[in-house]
Symmetry: C2
Subunit: 483 residues, 2 copies
């Protein structure tokens, strides 16, 4: 075998933007040549992964008492305009249907998010305390007329997500749900080895209509922040205009408390690609890889039959996994590079010598280590590697994430860090309420950093003055440049 050929994907990850665009193309993930700006085409390798990500989340939501529903893609203005803050936030981004056939019709919004679709019916479904908790989710695409630069899978005009909409009798139950949403996020990202932190967003960056927004942020390899799932405590902000009320046990009519949760499927995929990939291409976590194990027969004319027989036998042994055989005409080295680029977590090589010794060679995508394994140890070894790969991916991802958190006690340092490695910067800040917004604007103007909010999982005590206005700091906020 000749190994001196170049990898078919030799794109340094240091130039992340270039690397990202190249991998989308080389691995046949996304086609950007569809002729409408901001709309992308998902190719098969993507769709297999996307479907698996959907499954993980749907299963977890259902385990936690959510039920699947599907609401229309269109929202009439009478719904859309019911909650004042919500309409103010989303109106600039709404696509409007105004014609059908040759007729003008009453305008309909293409859903940018579905609070105002769901809650019209929730006001009918919820009658008494016995109808709650009401917890439904839908898996769908949403549409936003983004004016910021779009980036495939990270920010587009059509993106895939899940939205869960929950209704409760009491404030406390709603707040518990917000915590459960965070736990669900934690569980899924555990299976995908994606590091993140949940922040309570500042008042000026809340979901339009929410009382409070909690959003998880991760870091891309270029040090920019990518927002992942967010969960919103809506209080009674929607239940009042939408009339979601119930007769309580005491016979009184009360407005319900609501939450909503939005796991972004396209973005989770973007995070996966970006965080785990390397200069050979994709690296996919075991759970969501369309092909988990690729078997490559090392074929010479005289031993072809015995090798292929062993290959089939090994494939059958592994029938609990998603296994493919690459018996194409390509040279073995070329096959190795191809499947490495596609991110398949485990490669098995079987040559005539291996057949004689009842063994195979196993290679892990995450560190390239080779092992020779006897047939009767194979299943055990795969199970071990499955965990090892996830662990290694997590180690690598966590190491990077943790190395990208910097403290700064003045605006200049923030700027300097962002001009260098980027990442999260912790600073003392006057307020995350409305009156902190001005400092946030100043900071953004001077450094490009956005205030992502305060950590939710642990209280961080400020020690000193707001780095912008110099007043007494009430919070430690995390800032950074974001996608």
């Amino acid at each position: 075998m000749v190994y001196n050929m170049k990898s078919i994907f030799a794109c340094e990850k240091k130039n992340f933007s270039n690397w990202y665009n190249e991998i989308l193309k080389t691995a046949d993930l996304i086609d950007l040549r569809y002729n409408v700006k901001g709309f992308i085409v998902y190719r098969p390798w993507s769709m297999h992964i996307i479907k698996k990500i959907y499954q993980l989340w749907e299963q977890e939501l259902e385990k936690n008492g959510h039920k699947p529903v599907l609401f229309p893609v269109v929202i009439p203005p009478e719904n859309f305009e019911k909650e004042r803050e919500h309409v103010k936030g989303f109106k600039p981004e709404v696509f409007w249907i105004t014609e059908a056939g040759d007729n003008k019709i009453e305008r309909l919004a293409l859903r940018p998010t579905s609070e105002t679709a769901f809650y019209q019916l929730y006001s009918i479904w919820v009658r008494s305390y016995a109808d709650m908790p009401l917890k439904c989710y839908q898996s769908c695409a949403v549409y936003r007329y983004e004016t910021k630069a779009t980036k495939p899978l990270m920010r587009g005009r059509e993106f895939l997500w899940i939205e869960a909409h929950d209704v409760f009798e009491t404030e406390q139950e709603a707040i518990n749900q917000v915590r459960q949403d965070m736990k669900i996020t934690e569980k899924i990202f555990g299976q995908l080895s994606i590091p993140f932190i949940f922040f309570q967003r500042p008042a000026w960056d809340k979901f339009a209509g929410a009382v409070n927004t909690y959003a998880s942020d991760t870091l891309m390899p270029d040090g920019r922040i990518l927002q992942l799932p967010s969960t919103h405590y809506l209080g009674q902000n929607f239940s009042k205009p939408f009339d979601v009320k119930f007769i309580d046990k005491d016979g009184e009519e009360k407005y319900a408390y609501q939450t909503c949760y939005g796991p972004p499927i396209s973005r989770t995929f973007a995070a996966l690609i970006s965080i785990h990939g390397d200069s050979k291409g994709l690296i996919l976590p075991f759970d969501i890889a369309p092909t988990q194990i690729i078997i490559i027969p090392i074929i010479f004319d005289e031993s072809k039959d015995i090798v292929m027989k062993a290959v089939e036998k090994i494939k059958n042994m592994l029938n609990n996994y998603r296994v493919e055989i690459d018996d194409s005409e390509k040279r073995s080295g070329e096959k190795f590079y191809y499947w490495e680029m596609k991110g398949v977590p485990i490669r098995i090589e079987i040559g005539p010598k291996d057949v004689k010794k009842n063994q195979v060679v196993i290679v892990s995508r995450v560190d390239g280590k080779k092992k020779t394994v006897k047939h009767n140890n194979l299943i055990k070894e795969i199970k071990y590697m499955e965990k090892e790969i996830l662990k290694k991916l997590k180690e690598n991802a966590d190491n990077y994430f943790n190395s990208m958190i910097t403290d700064a006690n003045n605006v200049d340092k923030v700027k300097k860090v962002l001009e260098g490695k980027g990442g999260f910067i912790r600073v003392n800040f006057c307020s995350i309420e409305k009156h902190g917004e001005k400092c946030a604007e100043t900071l953004k103007e001077k450094t490009g950093a956005e205030v992502r909010g305060i950590r939710f999982d642990k209280k961080e005590k400020p020690n000193g003055k707001c780095i912008v206005c110099g007043k007494k700091a009430s919070y430690v906020v995390w800032v950074g440049r974001a996608y």
Copy 2:
């Protein structure tokens, strides 16, 4: 136990329209109270079933070499208007997006079907003979501004389907694909016990842009026809305007041959509900029932603990099935009626006497027959019933279907049958080419019957004259009133 209560769903199926609307509501399948005409809300019991129907089809399509993709919901006019017949057929039904935020934007069609989205990229993806067959599918909703009366799940302005789009080197391969699409349909409808016949549609009722359309029809309980999946041989009608061409083995540049296939998920669900349901409510085939087995403990205060222990044990024994326990406060009779109405195929009752004898009582939803079964025979019995239920559903459905096929040798008889039981009527007909259209129009005016085409699976030889114009008949066509 008291059995004298009324069923919670006592709606005679004879008045099908009434029965259908009532079951959608009582079984919490569809909510029609969303405030945009022709758009419906899928509730959890529906969505669980819909997801299972999608799964069946997706698995089968993938087994047959199709790969999942996802194209944008919007189609620019430059694509949409490329194939003359296609645009003529679909233009009256297209929803147009013309504004975004406060801006007028270049109009975009909301996909009514996606040929003109897919084929723009297919012209890039297909370069040489080695790129074919290219077989992709997407699971999505499509949007049509229906002017005919809408009927939930059967005809709406938003409906769920799959669309598969395939490209081949030769005409023969494309025609083989059409046959494979029929086989896939047959397999899925076998799992759902839905009877159907594939017809070649007459020239005037082809898919807009197709060379030939083959569509499967089933019958609703009111004797009206419901169209199910259709598969279309497109020839080079789209490959030419969309420039889907390839360099063949001989070095020549050639246009490809195409097919498309559209399994309608909402309609399959409508057919399931309508064909199998009875005066107690839904009856769901085992494969797609959200709950396959409902266990109802027969509880008296003094024996509650030992019964619940047995119930848990039985549930664990059945962990390969989707099993629920109804231990609510309702009376047993009420529970029986409720789960019968929801269509759960198997009910298990466990009372204190059963516990003592290591037995349970099993009831089949399809015929209401009761059996007492020992614990150690339970799995075997469930496996047997699984097949029996499917068989019974098939028998019932086939018996009805076959009883609704009538021959007629004149227009009056067609009219009389349609005013009576309805169904399919076989008649001699002059032509299914363009020049038969006038006779079809006359027939429709006089009787309300549409010409559904000629059987695809077997040649039927006409014997006499066209029942409308009296000229020599070239075909036996099937006619009837359709949804």
